[in-house]
Symmetry: C2
Subunit: 199 residues, 2 copies
């Protein structure tokens, strides 16, 4: 028993070290657009979890949304952040991430292994209202981050492709409203830059 407890603690430590690599995986979309010191995958999941916590819709299980947000990109600690520009097919991306989630969750005790793996599956399969909401969060957090990078760079409008690729994808009313507010601020930044006297 003592040996087995020690063994499971070593596995848990191994799991946590793999998860810790997310801190050192920069989000590929920003790297390709040459953002300085881009956020990590865990930075992104952190704010998504906070956003999940702020949802008002009582139909959604808020804690489940938080858990989904914490797990949905976890496989990237092994496979990295595969971006659309990487030309990896959706199926191949899913295959790699599934393998990584199996490898990761094997390090957990039976009940946790099932719980974490199933959260990831639920998100991948978009099989619940919570999973669909968290997908909205994923893209909304990204365009919010794009707005912040444009503001930090004082270069409004530079990251247009992130807005183009997500336009019309949002379905939860709270997120649709938030996205409208993000776009409003961004459009006003762009308009202000256009009306400045050229130096």
């Amino acid at each position: 028993m003592a040996d087995s407890a020690a063994g499971s603690m070593k596995s848990l430590l191994q799991f946590l070290k793999l998860v810790g690599q997310l801190k050192r995986v920069p989000r590929t979309g920003w790297v390709y657009r040459k953002i300085e010191n881009p956020e990590s995958v865990s930075d992104h999941m952190y704010r998504m979890a906070v956003m999940a916590f702020l949802v008002k819709d009582q139909q959604l299980n808020k804690d489940r949304c938080v858990r989904l947000a914490l797990v949905h990109d976890m496989a990237e600690c092994i496979v990295g952040d595969i971006a659309p520009a990487d030309n990896v097919s959706k199926e191949e991306k899913h295959r790699r991430e599934k393998e990584a989630m199996e490898q990761l969750t094997r390090l957990l005790s039976a009940d946790l292994k099932k719980e974490v793996y199933e959260l990831w599956e639920e998100y991948e399969g978009q099989s619940s209202a919570e999973a669909k909401f968290v997908k909205d969060l994923d893209q909304c957090e990204m365009i919010l981050q794009a707005l912040e990078y444009e503001e930090l760079e004082k270069n409004p409008g530079r990251l247009q492709e992130f807005y183009d690729s997500t336009a019309g994808n949002f379905s939860h009313p709270e997120i649709v409203q938030l996205v409208a507010t993000i776009n409003e601020e961004r459009n006003s930044n762009i308009a202000a830059a256009r009306s400045e006297p050229q130096s």
Copy 2:
């Protein structure tokens, strides 16, 4: 009504932008020890939230632990990460963080304002078993990160002060066990480095 909804969305956006600054607040302890590309405060809270999710102790409300982990350092988006080496008194640190949490949560609707502020207060006051557990997580996540930095730098033993300052602080049995496993791996790294032939 429409105006007030638009106003609250603007406030929510402001809140999320402040929280987003956590991605750009490096953890001061690592900065002072000249770690290259140190983790952000949100990186740290992300892994703590995952650790909270893995707790087995059925006496603890796991989702509450996750929420506490997500909120406990949130004030640092405004006040920064004040480290012991900064010589700011505990009272002054608390005063600044309280003010920051008031400023932050004013941007939320009444119910969320109360919920987020009270989570922070619960952690600060260490007024629940969950808050005490999350404090254990906070320090355990830090020494795990120290181990990983020593391993990445191939410099076992360099970050001894983080182990000295936390030794004996852990009380939850699951964390005590995990800390023992971390120390075991670290001690074996140190022993291996000592027994290598000097070049």
